[in-house]
Every structure is written in C-alpha cells, then in structure tokens.
Amino acid sequence: MFVLGLEAPEIASSVRAGQFVNLGWAGGPLLRRPFSVYRADGDHIEVVLKAVGAGTAQLLGMELGDRVSCLGPLGRGFELAGRSAVLVSGGLGVAPMPLVVRDARTSGMEVTWVHGARTAAELCAEAEGDTLIWATDDGSQGFHGTAVAAAPDGDVVVACGPNRMLAAVAERWPHAQVAVETYMGCGTGVCLGCAVPLRRGGYDRACKEGPVYHAADIDWSALPSHLAYAVGA
C-alpha cells in the first residue's frame, strides 16, 4: 500500500470523512480514477493506492512537483454522531478511516478501529483510535478471521472494504454506514455509470447520493463484488 500526497488547499480545508477525489493526469488513462481522501492537513490531502495496474504505476512514478488534476471533494461522507464509533475496514478499505477517526473525535466519540487483511504483511500499519483490533484471514496477526467477526458493536458502525465484506457488514449491522466501490465515469453525477442497486428498487449514483450508504439500503446481490478495470488501474 502506498500513500500519495497532493497539494490541494481548497479540498484539504473542506473534505469530510468518506468523500473522494477524482484524479486525472497527463499520459494517464482516459477516465479519472476515484480515491477516498485518506488524510487532510493544512494545504495537503493524501490518498492510498496499490500498484495494481499501469495507471497506479504512473501515479507512483511521479516526482515531487508533478501535477495531477484533482476534482473534489466529491460525494456524500459519513454522518458521525453518538457516543462510540466502530470502524471496520478490509484491505484498501482503510482509505477513508483516518478522516473518520478525526471527525468522530471532533464529535467527542470513542473510536474502535478493526482492520482486516489476508495476512499480517498486508495490514496497514497506520491505524489509530482509542482501541485497535487487527484481524487476519490466516491468523498471522491479531484475531484469526474477518474484521467483521472481530468487531464489537457501537452506536455508529462505519465500514469500507471489498463489497463482499460490506455485504457481511450489512447482515450484522443493517444500520451501518458503508462506503462502496463502483466503476466510475465522471464522478460528478452526469454519466450514471456508477449505479448502485437499491433494495427499494432502481439505482442511484455512488458519486452523488453515495459513496456512503446505510448498509440495509443496498441490494447486495446485484452490486458487483469484483471490479476489473479494463485499462490501467
């Protein structure tokens, strides 16, 4: 996992936990790529990425001072109110969590962060909160099993990770707030490419009404669980 910092003062000062930016760069893929904002401080924001394709490789190959077009903050973030917040993340689902910790603490909430990965080597080392719980599929660190199984209950449950993990979150906590991952075109609500199937029927847009949803509102059986961009990352 890599952290990429960007100078983006307007976004840094206004972004809320769960919102994202849509990045485009010269020589990159045609469409922008969406990234949750990981941290924001002063004039800077950070995003996290894995080197999975040509596009992310280009981003990781950039030098200090290179320019990236950054559209945001986009989408609707998490609503954080109550006494305690439980954060459940898997893999790259760590992405929105540092801002969730920040916003939850601003609201005076006690924060428990449960992070899961396949192995200890794939865990994110940057977790924070009042209580930290690790979970690994192979038992190489912390709880042997999923982050969902390892997590306690809380007033607010916030989750981000693979859509399969979020479907399990929905089973256990229908009221949980989940940030879903979809293919995305414009990020601004016009292309209707990021359709999220709803339990009440029909679709809405991950980029506009989402990417944060109440877990019970999504038709998990119709939401693709595996994203495979054809070009780049």
């Binding site: 601004t188 016009v190 359709a195 199937p197 679709y203 595996h226 070009v231």
Partner: protein
C-alpha cells in the same frame, strides 16, 4: 479582435458551435453555471415517455482511448422532466433540445407532442438507435424506412427544430441521412456511439452486465469524422459532428470536414470545462489564422 463563433442551425442562432452531447451533461443542472458560459446549446439526457430504471451494473468500462457504456437510458420520464428541469431551461441563455426515445414511431410522436410548447424546450434530437419493438426489435436507425417514419412522426407533431442523431452501425450512412432529410429533419447529428464489447478474462464473460455497450471517446474520432463527412456530403441540411472530441483541433476537423457545429460528450466526464476549452481553442485558432468568423473557415465538402 474576437472571432465571431455564432452559427445558425435549423432556425436557431447559437452563440457558439460547441454543444453538449446527450447523456454527458445530465439535464444541465448538475454542471456549475461557470462551465456553461460557452455552450452553444445543450442536448438533454435521453428521455422516454415513462420512467426507466436503466441497466444493472457494471455499466461502464474503459477501453484504449475510449469507454463503453450501457446505461440503458435511465431516466425519470417525460412528466418529471417537464416538472423538474424544463423550468430551469427556460431561464438559461442557450437553447436546450430534448433527446427523445421510443419503442415505436407513435411513442416518438407522442413525446414530441407532449413537449412541444413547454417553456424551456427549444427543439428535439431524435435518438434513432433504439430497438423498434413493433418491428421485432430491429433498430430504427439501421433501416431508412423506419428512420424516416420516426422522423415524420415527430415532424407532424411539432414546429420546433427536429434533429436526428444517426447511428454509425450502418453500411451507408448517406442513405439514412437522405431518408431522414426527406422526412423533414432540420439537422443531423453524426454520430452516436459504436456498439462494442469487452471481455473479463477472469470471469470468462463480458465486463458489462448488458453484454455490449456504446463506444465513445478519442478512439472513435477518425471513424466519426469520416461518417459525419459522408453524412454532410449526402444532404443539404446542417450536420452536427460528434465523436471523441476533446480539444479544439478535434472539433475543427469536424468543422472543416463539413459540419456546421459539434457536440462534446465523453470529454466532459474527464474535464468539466471541456466545452469552454474547445470553444476558446476554436476562437484562438480562427484568430491565429486571420479569420474574423467561423463562417470564413475553409471547408472540405465535395458534394455527392
């Protein structure tokens, strides 16, 4: 000196030749005002008489230099469009045309009749790339008689400008172009997306849940320039060029190839200011070449 970019199309004077393509600008309300300053006109997201849910995800996939989409013409239906969007359009300083769709000629005609006279609706763009349910699902746009019948059905129900958006999935676009011109179209839009497919090699099936999608973006531009040129050679009415325009030079290719104006689509997804950038770039090109108006731009348009 600022070059005069205004154009006259189907009785409408447009302040510039760069228009927003259907499906890439929503109903215009999602895009900030600043980004609309250079718009010659906007074509709305496609509408049917009734609301449509659209297709299941995945709906889009990126391919080299382009994207495939199968949105399925998701939309609220004509009554919601009239209630929720047309009132804003009536306030704007550029015309809005409604992209209309149907499963039969009579549905197109009904839509035109319902929208005719609604404040904010300046005209129609007929999407003939829809399956004709009454004719076994054959596409209107692939058959000159069906394309003409749809055009006529709309023409009979309105005095507003009627544009017809042509599909590239035909063996001779000139034949369709002449058929809809004869049926009363005021202008042609060339072209709609190409039908394409992309396969997920891990799942052994198409990436799009709808199996196929419409290919747009820079990948189709040379094909589109050729087809728009072929259409323009075939008719006397204006042709509006569409297909993979991201920069002023791309738009100028269509204009020199015989188009009266252009529509920008997919580029807006990447750059929300694409239309203004293309418009400004055309003005800069004309000024650099010493032309005072777009009408002075040399055209390459031998007539068939």
């Amino acid at each position: 000196m600022t070059a005069d970019l205004s154009v006259d199309i189907s009785g409408m004077r447009l302040r510039g030749p760069v228009l927003a393509a259907s499906g890439t600008f929503g109903y215009g309300t999602e895009v900030p005002l600043l980004e609309r300053r250079a718009l010659g006109a906007m074509v709305s997201k496609g509408i049917f008489l009734r609301a449509r849910e659209g297709t299941a995800p995945p709906r889009i996939v990126e391919t080299p230099g382009g994207m495939l989409n199968a949105i399925g013409l998701q939309g609220p239906g004509v009554e919601a469009l009239i209630r929720d969007f047309a009132p804003s359009w009536a306030e704007w300083d550029f015309p809005v045309l409604v992209n209309i769709n149907g499963e039969s000629s009579s549905e197109y005609g009904e839509l035109a009749a319902r929208l005719d006279g609604v404040p904010g609706v300046a005209g129609f763009e007929i999407n003939i790339s829809c399956p004709n349910v009454e004719q076994g699902g054959l596409y209107f746009g692939n058959d000159p008689r069906a394309a003409a019948a749809v055009t006529e059905a709309v023409r009979r129900r309105t005095k507003l400008p009627v544009w017809v958006k042509l599909t590239p999935m035909v063996s001779d676009i000139g034949v369709i172009a002449r058929a809809v011109e004869g049926a009363g179209a005021d202008a042609l839009c060339a072209i709609n997306t190409f039908v394409g497919m992309s396969i997920d090699l891990n799942a052994y099936k198409p990436r799009l849940s709808f199996r196929t999608g419409g290919l747009s973006g820079p990948a189709i531009r040379p094909l589109a320039v050729h087809l728009a040129h072929q259409a323009a050679r075939a008719v006397r009415i204006p042709v509006i060029g569409i297909g993979g325009i991201t920069r002023a030079e791309d738009a100028l290719e269509f204009l020199v190839a015989g188009c009266a104006a252009v529509q920008v689509g997919t580029a807006t997804f990447v750059n929300p200011k694409a239309i203004a950038d293309v418009h400004d770039g055309i003005a800069a090109f004309l000024e650099a070449k010493g032309f005072s108006a777009l009408t002075d731009l040399p055209r390459y348009l031998p007539r068939d």
